[in-house]
């Protein structure tokens, strides 16, 4: 304790003296830049740099001054210092001496110590502090972190060729051959095309020794993670960046304690940030084979599935929980929920999903379905069918979990608290929309026939029909005309014929054949009527004649007279002549009648 007090007192006294200290590494690699730092506890004076070896290329000096004002126990002390930094690159290996530098103030001139420096060949000679001496020629190569650096970082992937969705474990590892005091900043790339999930990694406290290609490294895992490729193709992982704090000895050697032990004890060690990056990587992601099964919901890995239910006997409106558990290794977090077609009458809520991960990509995912029976009866929950893609077997595997039968009992409307999900008079529930099914009955398939209307022949048929009709009409007209001619002739000759018959009857009367007279008179009358009324003789009757005459507006007197004459002719035909009307009178009456009829009918 007393020694310590003395030391402090000594320092206080020495503070007034001008000292020039030099700080340079004991060894450096050829071609590598190192610093030589001169510190002087004064600001005014002339600094004379040492004569560096000609093989050194020197940059600098970089000069900085500082002034400290201190109050110690009421005394004000001003400490000022100047620092000059030379950046030196040594060309050839060997042992060199850096001569003393001088600092000249108004009063005194002080010199620095001479410094020995060992320049080794190659960059790697500046190996970790504990083993650098004596064996400066170690070369790093192979799988080790990129050559030439003493601190490096690497991403180690579980697999470089995977299927989309297949988990890839990754480890970010640090390799170092020098002392590190800490990690300042870690920047992951954005892992384009991947979903990254960090695995809990204990913070890096101590490094493990690992020998790679004969070189000892201190290694440590910085972060473990799982990558799930989301797209297929060659995906590039950009470099990760990290800033490490490298311990670098920059402290000045104390002039009083020039001893290795004190040197390491007192020389100040500064921490210098250094940027470390990883090499970019490429992962080949293969797409999942097509066609994908309908019940594939993105799960890739090797899984098992099981289902359970809280109870198969349920009360109306009381919740039942069905649990489907997916277990195994794979992209659990991306595995979609299984589609279960719950029967109508059971209200289903969206499942509660919990993922229990055990470290890497393995674990279990639990889907909890809350079901509320809204109707009584027996309901069948179909078995769960869930397809996963197994990268090991390189094919889709359909997993099955058992279904359940739920018996729901209870009285509807009993539980007033529950929502009345099914009330009478409810609208029919439509679940989806699809086209109607095809027709599979017997069909008669016939080839299309040419449309008639676009052919000329069809229209010719119309013309033909019209022509035929016209011909028929023409012929019929001709016939009618001819018939009409015959009838007209008879009509016109009717009176003449009748008169000639009556004349004949008169002749017969004169010759004394009285019986024949009546017949002739009857013939004359019937013939006249037939011709005039256009009734064939075969069809003629009295009634027909009368109605025909009435049609022609003949006076009733004439018809009565006709009737009498006709009756008379018939009567006299069959009765003895003496009893009937005299044939002579009959002839006259008939002649008068025909005259009258002619007047009416013409």
């Amino acid at each position: 304790m007393t020694a310590f007090v003395f030391l402090l007192a000594g320092l206080a006294v020495a503070a007034q003296e001008v000292t020039l200290t030099v700080d340079a590494p004991e060894s450096a690699a050829a071609g590598e830049r190192f610093r030589i730092i001169y510190t002087v506890n004064s600001t005014d004076g002339q600094f004379t740099p040492p004569k560096f070896d000609p093989s050194f290329s020197v940059q600098g000096p970089q000069q900085s001054t500082s002034r400290n004002v201190q109050w110690i126990n009421g005394d004000v002390k001003t400490i000022s210092s100047t620092t000059l930094i030379y950046y030196v690159v040594a060309g050839t290996p060997g042992t060199y001496t850096i001569p003393a530098a001088q600092f000249e103030t108004k009063k005194v001139t002080v010199s620095s110590q001479e410094k020995q420096i060992v320049i080794t060949a190659g960059a790697s000679s500046q190996a970790s502090a504990s083993q650098q001496q004596g064996q400066g020629q170690v070369r790093a190569s192979g799988d080790a972190p990129s050559a030439g650096t003493d601190v490096s970082m690497k991403i180690i992937l579980g697999d470089r060729e995977v299927y989309a969705g297949e988990p890839v474990t990754g480890t970010l590892k640090l390799y170092t051959r020098i002392n590190l005091s800490g990690i300042q900043e870690l920047k992951f790339p954005d892992f384009k095309g991947f979903l990254k999930e960090d695995i809990e990694t204990p913070p890096l406290r101590s490094l493990e020794n690992e020998v790679i290609d004969g070189v000892q490294y201190g290694t440590g895992v910085i972060q473990r993670f799982v990558l799930y490729p989301q797209v297929s193709g060659d995906l590039r992982i950009e470099p990760a960046e990290m800033t490490v704090l490298v311990q670098e000895r920059t402290g000045a050697k104390d002039p009083f304690f020039d001893d290795p032990f004190f040197d390491s004890f007192f020389s100040s060690v500064s921490t210098v940030p250094r940027k470390v990056t990883t090499q970019p990587l490429t992962i080949r992601v293969k797409p999942l084979p097509e066609p994908r099964p309908a019940d594939f919901h993105g799960a890739v890995g090797s899984f098992t599935i099981e289902s359970s239910i809280s109870g198969t006997d349920a009360r109306l409106n009381d919740a039942v929980t069905m649990t489907v558990t997916l277990k195994g290794t794979g992209n659990l977090s991306l595995a979609g929920e299984p589609v279960i077609s719950f029967p109508q009458g059971i209200e289903k809520y969206d499942p509660k999903v919990t993922v229990k991960s055990t470290g890497t990509a393995s674990g279990s995912k639990v889907f909890e379905y809350l079901l509320i029976p809204r109707n009584t009866g027996t309901f069948e929950i179909p078995p769960v069918s869930y397809s996963v893609f197994d990268p090991g077997q390189q094919k889709y595997v359909t997993l099955r979990a058992e279904g359940f039968t739920i018996n729901v009992t209870g009285t509807p409307g009993e539980d007033q608290g529950a929502a009345p999900a099914y009330t009478p008079g409810e609208d029919v529930k439509y679940l989806g929309q699809d086209i109607r099914f095809i027709r599979n009955g017997n069909v008669r398939l016939s080839k299309i026939s040419a449309p008639l209307v676009s052919g000329l022949y069809y229209w010719l048929w119309f013309a033909l029909a019209l022509f035929v009709a016209a011909m028929v009409l023409l012929l019929r007209r001709e016939q009618i005309r001819r018939n009409a001619d015959i009838a007209g002739l008879r009509n016109r000759k009717a009176a003449k014929n009748a008169r000639s018959r009556l004349a004949k009857a008169n002749d017969l009367l004169k010759s004394g054949k009285k019986e024949a007279v009546n017949t002739e008179v009857a013939r004359a009358l019937w013939g006249y009527l037939g011709d005039k009324l256009r009734i064939p003789q075969s069809e003629i009757t009295r009634d027909k004649c009368y109605s025909a005459l009435r049609d022609r507006k003949t006076e009733e007197e004439i018809i009565t007279e006709l009737d009498r004459v006709l009756t008379a002719t018939e009567y006299s035909q069959y009765a003895p002549v003496s009893e009937g009307e005299s044939p002579d009178a009959l002839c006259r009456r008939a002649a008068t009648l025909i005259g009258k009829l002619d007047g009416v009918l013409d």
Binding site: Q433, D434, I435, R436, F437, I438, R439, N440, G441, N442, V443, R444, L445, S446, K447, I448, S449, P451, L452, V453, S454, Y458, W461, F462, A465, L466, V468, A469, V472, L473, R476, R477, I480
Partner: protein, 252 residues
């Protein structure tokens, strides 16, 4: 060489066995494929039958269904439209067509047809062209016969009846002829077409130089107004007109 021969024989046998099927058997086979979920297979067979010239509303309806199920909505609409021409009153076809239309991209405010045009077209499609044509001819002949009766019969009462009947059947004959012609133009020369390309740009002139007027997507039904080379001027359901490539559509 021997194996090659064997393969040829097997292939020939396969072709023959397929060729040996009656169209009804093929139709049944396609129905079974449809039932088992091979929709594109069923659609291929149905379409082949259609291309061979077989027609039946059931065939066209099933073809539409098979195309719909295999995801080709444009072809489904095309075949439903064709089926509708054979069976205008079929409710299933209307329903499926409406569903297929609801799945396509383009929506239009359709300009509705005049009600009598709609009725007339409906009537025209109730029977096939040739049935109307034959009926019209029969009606015309009946009208002529009645006219002959009218022109030759002398009895007054019968004449009057035959005159009116003849006139009525003549009018019916004219109506039926026009229905036959209308049916023919609807079924065999329908100006409407369904867009089959995914996306088509309508331009103001045929060719690639005209200004772009509109963009339509597959499944839209258009009316072809005129054709010039490999381009057609089409009218959209909302009444707008533009030129598109004829290869991008299939006539109903």
């Amino acid at each position: 060489m021997r194996r090659l021969l064997l393969i040829h024989i097997i292939m020939l046998a396969g072709i023959l066995s397929l060729a040996g099927q009656t169209p009804e058997e093929k139709y049944k086979q396609a129905g079974e494929l449809y039932g088992s979920g091979d929709y594109s297979g069923a659609a291929a067979i149905y379409r082949k039958l259609w291309e061979e010239g077989y027609r039946s509303e059931g065939l066209l309806y099933n073809t539409g269904n098979a195309f719909f199920k295999s995801g080709d909505n444009a072809s489904a609409i095309l075949f439903y439209e064709r089926a509708k021409l054979l069976a205008p009153a079929d409710e299933d076809i209307d329903y499926n067509l409406q569903i297929a239309r609801s799945r396509i991209t383009d929506r239009f405010e359709t300009v509705p047809q005049l009600f009598f045009v709609r009725w007339f077209d409906f009537l025209a499609l109730l029977a096939s062209t040739n049935i109307w044509a034959v009926a019209a001819l029969a009606m015309f002949v009946a009208s002529l016969l009645l006219a002959l009766v009218f022109l030759t019969k002398s009895r007054a009462r019968g004449r009057l009846l035959s005159f009116w009947l003849s006139l009525a059947s003549l009018i019916l004959a004219i109506l039926m002829v026009s229905l036959a012609v209308r049916n023919n133009s609807l079924v065999n020369h329908n100006p409407r077409a369904v867009i089959t390309c995914g996306i088509v740009t309508g331009r103001s002139a045929p060719g690639e130089t005209g200004n772009e007027l509109f963009v339509i997507h597959s499944g839209t039904t258009v009316t072809v107004e005129q054709e010039l080379g490999s381009f057609s001027e089409v009218r959209l359901p909302d009444g707008n007109k533009g030129w598109i490539g004829s290869s991008c559509m299939e006539k109903i």
